[in-house]
């Protein structure tokens, strides 16, 4: 059981380049999330999904896009990379029967460190 797998672990981008951060979970979780973690700032929610085909914006969605074509995969797309997107990105998932049941017990991936120069 791999849990939540993120790739790549590290990436350096030039300003204006695009890339996709991959996230896969094998726990049959319905909810999936993308967070960014900046030093001294905690975790900020970028996008989340409550199931295949359904995505919604979090606290800081600008500059990012997501899709959820399968239960397992939740890729995060950066279209025009900017230095402000330098961060560590975490994908997380959980199983929930509704918004209030277990939406808080998240399983996280190991993170993807992105630097935009």
């Amino acid at each position: 059981n791999a849990g939540v797998t993120q790739t790549p672990k590290f990436r350096i981008l030039k300003i204006g380049q695009s890339m996709t951060l991959q996230c896969t979970q094998d726990m049959n979780h319905n909810y999936m999330y993308w967070y960014r973690q900046d030093p001294g700032m905690g975790l900020k929610l970028i996008y989340y999904s409550v199931g295949a085909g359904i995505t919604d914006k979090g606290e800081v969605p600008n500059g990012y896009n997501v899709s959820r074509s399968t239960t397992e995969d939740f890729p995060l797309r950066l279209e025009l990379a900017a230095p402000s997107q330098t961060s560590v990105y975490f994908c997380a998932s959980n199983f929930s029967r509704g918004p209030r049941s277990g939406a808080n017990v998240l399983t996280f991936g190991a993170g993807s460190r992105l630097t935009v120069l």
């Binding site: 900020k44 997380a92 808080n104 996280f108 190991a110």
Partner: protein, 111 residues
């Protein structure tokens, strides 16, 4: 109103001592308060959590104390060990069922 304020930013404790991390919030609609532990190079993992209808929850050496009237909650680590060295995050579940995170506390336990 959507913030969770966490202190201190960093903390050094001697082995065997008590580590205390504090969080405060404003929004009374928050109703679930987890603590996550993060080791370097890893994602956060749930450590312990509490709902506001109880004032304390204990799991082994880890205790959450919750003060609803003061809108504060804290994590106490008894008999702190070097293996407890990590970053700790408090969080709160808002009315949109999303977690609002504190800024984190880097804890170092000195042998």
């Amino acid at each position: 109103q959507q913030q969770v304020k966490q202190s201190p930013q960093s903390l050094i404790v001697q082995k065997g001592g008590i580590s205390i991390i504090n969080c405060a919030y404003e929004n009374t609609a928050f109703d679930y308060f987890p603590w996550y532990q993060q080791f370097p190079g890893k994602g956060p993992a749930l450590l312990i959590a509490i709902r506001p209808d109880v004032s304390e929850k204990k799991e082994g050496r880890f205790t959450i104390s919750f003060n609803k009237s003061a809108k504060q909650f804290s994590l106490h680590i008894m008999d702190s060990q070097p293996g407890d060295s990590a970053t700790y995050f408090c969080a709160a579940l808002n009315s949109n069922y999303q977690l609002i995170w504190g800024a984190g506390t880097k804890l170092i336990i000195k042998p």
